[in-house]
Symmetry: C2
C-alpha cells in the first residue's frame, strides 16, 4: 500500500497533511471550503502491468475492493466483503453492462466509501462518527462502525425507506429521524458536532469516502479488460461515486493501467422531483442552487444541493457527458422492465439510470453499439415499501 | 465442462438418463420416489491441481459459482452473478468464519440452485416452471426465469416476508399466495402441474438445484485453502445446501482436491417452532414426521417435513454432527448480537446458526479453536418486516 503524500484541496489546491484527521480544507478563504482529495506517490507503480499487481493482491484476505490496495491508503482494513461486484451484460442491449452494487454489504455502493472512511477513522483513533443520510449511507456507516466498534450517530429523514431504518438500529447505531430532508439532517450534525465530540463523516467533508468509491472506477475498467467504456451512467445524489471514478481514471492514466485515453462520457442522472445538478447543467451554471420541495421515491436522489456540485458539473462537462433528470413514472416503468426482461430488481436510483439510457438511445445521443456501464447503486430489496407503493401492491398480513 | 454420465437415485441407486428432463426417480417401487443426483465422469480431472483448473476458469465470464464449471453440467449458464460470496472472519471468535450468502443475487443462497436449475430448464427447452416456496426460492426462481424468459408459477404462504412477495411480482412471475405453509403450496403444485404443463422445480424433485448448491461446498473449502473446517453450521429448511455440500466433499475427495480426509461435522439447525429433523435426530429416527402448527419468524425454516429428510439425517450422522433447534428468542438475540458486535445483519435463518454455535461452545461440544463455517443463507434486509416486529420497532410514515 502506498503512503499518502498529502491531501489536496479541490478548490484552492492547498496541500494539507494527512497525519491528523482532516475534514474540509482549513485554508480556503471563502465558504464553502473545498473537499480534500488524497494524493499518493505512485511512482513505483508506474508502468507496471496492472494484471500482475492486482491479481497478486486479490489473493487471500485482499479480496473485494481491497484488491486495489496498491492505490489505497495504507491501514488495516475494516472490511465486510465490499466491492468486486458483478458486471452483468444486458440480455437485450448488445453493448450495455449493469454494475450490480446491490451485491455489496448493506446492499449498496455506500459500503465502499464507508469501509474506507471507517478504516481511516479507526486508524486515527476516532471514537464517534456522525452522518446525515438519505438512506443507504446510514446502514453502511452503522455496519462498519459496529465492525470497528466505533460509535455511530445517524440522522435520516423520517420518511426514509424502512429497511434503512431497521438496519441502522440492528447495527446498534444511535439513530435519529428528522422531519425534513438530508439537508436538514446535515444542519443537525453541523450544529451539534463540536459539543458532542462527533467527527463529521458526511459526503465530501472528509477525504476517504471518495477513495473507497473510486474503486468502482478501477473495477469497471478492469472488468472491461482495462479499457474505458464509451459512457458511464451514474445516479447522482451526493455524487461521490462519480467524483471517485473520475479520480480513478486520472490515476490509472498516470500509472499506464488503461488502454486509450478517451475517458467515458459521464452521465449524471437525477429525478425530476429533485434535479439541482441537471438544472444547473442545462442553465450553464457552475454550481447548483437549492432544489425546493424535493420529492422522489428514489430516496438517494433526494439531495437538494450536493456539497460537491461544482466538482460534479466540472467532470460531467469535461467528459463531454451531461446531467439529466427522469420522472418517477419513468423510474418505476424501468424497474418493471428490467425485472421482467433481465431478471434484475433495481433500486429506484438504479432505474433512473436505465430509464435515462433508454432516452439517450431514443434521442440518438448514444448508439446501441456504444459501450455503456449502468450503475445500480443499491439492491431493489432495500426499497420494497416504496416500490410496492408505486406498484400499488397491496400489503400482506405480515406487513 | 464435463458431460453428465447419468443420474443416480439416492434411494434405489437406479441409473437414469439425463438426455430428457427428469424429476424424481421413475424406477423407485415405493413412495416417496428418490431424488436424483448428477454423476459425471471426472476421470480427466483426477489428481489435477484445483488451483490451476479453478483459477483458469474464474477469469472472464466464468466468475462467481461458475468458476467451478469443470464440475458442473455443460450448458450455457443463466447467470446474474451468483456465488463466490464473502467468507468473513469473526471479530470475536478466533476460528469462526461467516459465509455471507446474502451477497448473492436476490439476496439469498437460493440463487445458486436456481441459476443451475433454470440453466438446465432452458437447455431442455422447458417453458413453464412451478415451485412452492417458504420465501427465498420464489424470488430466485422468478429472477432466473425472467433472465431466461421462461414463465414462473410461484406459490407462497400468505404471511411470507414482504420482500419475497414484492420481488417475485417485480420479476414478472405468476405469484399466488396460499393460506397455509409450504407443504400446502406444494400440494397445489402437485395437483395442478400436469394439467397446466408446469415442470415442478421443487427442492429435491429435480436434479440440478443440488448441483448449484454444492458450489457452497467447493467454495468454503477453496476459501479455507483447500482444507476442511472442523464443523459446518447450516440452517436447515429443505436441506438442499447441506446435501449439496456433502456431495461436493465426496467429489473433491475423488478428485484429490482437498487436503485431509476428515470431513467437517455437519450441524443442521432448525427453529424450536418447526424442528422435524432435529426431533427425528434426537429420537434416533431415519426419517422425520410432519411438524404440526409450524411457527417461526425464520421463514425459511418453516418446512414441516422436508422431502430430503432421510438424506439429511444420514449425512448429519455420518459426519459425526448433529441436528438441533434454537428458539425465536435466541434467534433474535443473535441477530442483535451479530449486528452490534460484528457489523453483520443476519437473516433469522442465519442467526439460528450463530445462536446454535454459541450453545455448542457453551456446552463444550466445540472448542473456540475448532474451525467452523457458519452459513448466513440470506440478507437480513429481506426480513425487515419480521425482524422489526420481533424488535418491537415502530413503523415509519412510509411503511
Amino acid at each position: 500500500m502506498p503512503s499518502i503524500a498529502f491531501l489536496e484541496c479541490a478548490r484552492c489546491h492547498a496541500r494539507i497533511s494527512a497525519d491528523i484527521p482532516q475534514t474540509v480544507c482549513p485554508q480556503c478563504l471563502t465558504a464553502p471550503a473545498g473537499s480534500l482529495f488524497v494524493r499518493y506517490d505512485l511512482s513505483t507503480l508506474k508502468s507496471t502491468d496492472p494484471r500482475n499487481v492486482i491479481e497478486r493482491d486479490a489473493a487471500g484476505p485482499w479480496s473485494g475492493m481491497w484488491r486495489y490496495r496498491s492505490v489505497l491508503p495504507s491501514a488495516d482494513p475494516v472490511t465486510l466483503g465490499e466491492g468486486w461486484t458483478p458486471m452483468l451484460k444486458s440480455r437485450r442491449h448488445p453493448a450495455a453492462w449493469l454494475k450490480e452494487e446491490g451485491a455489496n454489504p448493506t446492499g449498496s455502493f455506500k459500503a465502499r466509501g464507508l469501509s474506507m472512511a471507517v478504516t481511516m477513522a479507526r486508524h486515527y483513533g476516532l471514537k464517534k462518527l456522525a452522518v446525515p443520510s438519505a438512506g443507504n449511507a446510514a446502514g453502511a456507516l452503522a455496519a462498519y462502525a459496529a465492525a470497528a466498534q466505533i460509535e455511530a450517530y445517524i440522522f435520516m429523514p423520517r420518511d426514509v425507506p424502512f429497511a434503512n431504518y431497521v438496519e441502522a438500529v440492528a447495527y446498534g447505531a444511535h439513530v435519529q429521524l428528522v422531519d425534513g430532508l438530508i439537508s436538514d439532517c446535515a444542519r443537525v450534525v453541523s450544529e451539534r458536532k463540536q459539543q458532542e465530540g462527533w467527527f463529521d463523516i458526511s459526503t465530501l467533508k472528509e477525504p476517504f469516502r471518495v477513495e473507497g468509491k473510486k474503486t468502482m472506477g478501477y473495477e469497471l475498467v478492469e472488468q472491461l479488460g482495462w479499457e474505458y467504456p464509451d459512457a458511464v451512467f451514474y445516479p447522482t445524489g451526493g455524487g461521490v461515486g462519480l467524483i471517485g471514478m473520475w479520480k480513478a481514471f486520472e490515476e490509472m492514466e498516470q500509472l499506464g493501467w488503461v488502454r486509450g485515453s478517451k475517458r467515458p462520457r459521464m452521465i449524471a442522472v437525477q429525478s425530476t422531483g429533485c434535479a439541482p445538478v441537471a438544472r444547473a447543467f442545462e442553465q450553464g451554471e457552475t454550481v447548483s442552487t437549492m432544489w425546493q420541495d424535493a420529492a422522489t421515491f428514489a430516496a438517494g436522489l433526494r439531495v437538494p444541493k450536493p456539497y460537491g456540485d461544482a466538482i460534479i458539473l466540472d467532470i460531467v462537462r469535461a467528459s463531454g457527458g451531461l446531467a439529466m433528470a427522469v420522472s418517477d413514472d419513468e423510474i418505476l416503468a424501468s424497474i418493471l422492465d428490467w425485472g421482467r426482461n433481465e431478471g434484475l430488481f433495481l433500486s429506484p436510483e438504479g432505474a433512473s439510470v436505465t430509464a435515462a439510457y433508454d432516452k439517450l438511445l431514443a434521442s440518438g445521443y448514444l448508439q446501441p453499439s456504444d459501450r455503456v456501464v449502468l450503475f445500480n447503486t443499491g439492491a431493489g430489496l432495500k426499497y420494497t415499501d416504496m416500490t410496492a407503493a408505486a406498484m400499488k401492491l397491496k400489503g400482506l398480513a405480515s406487513n
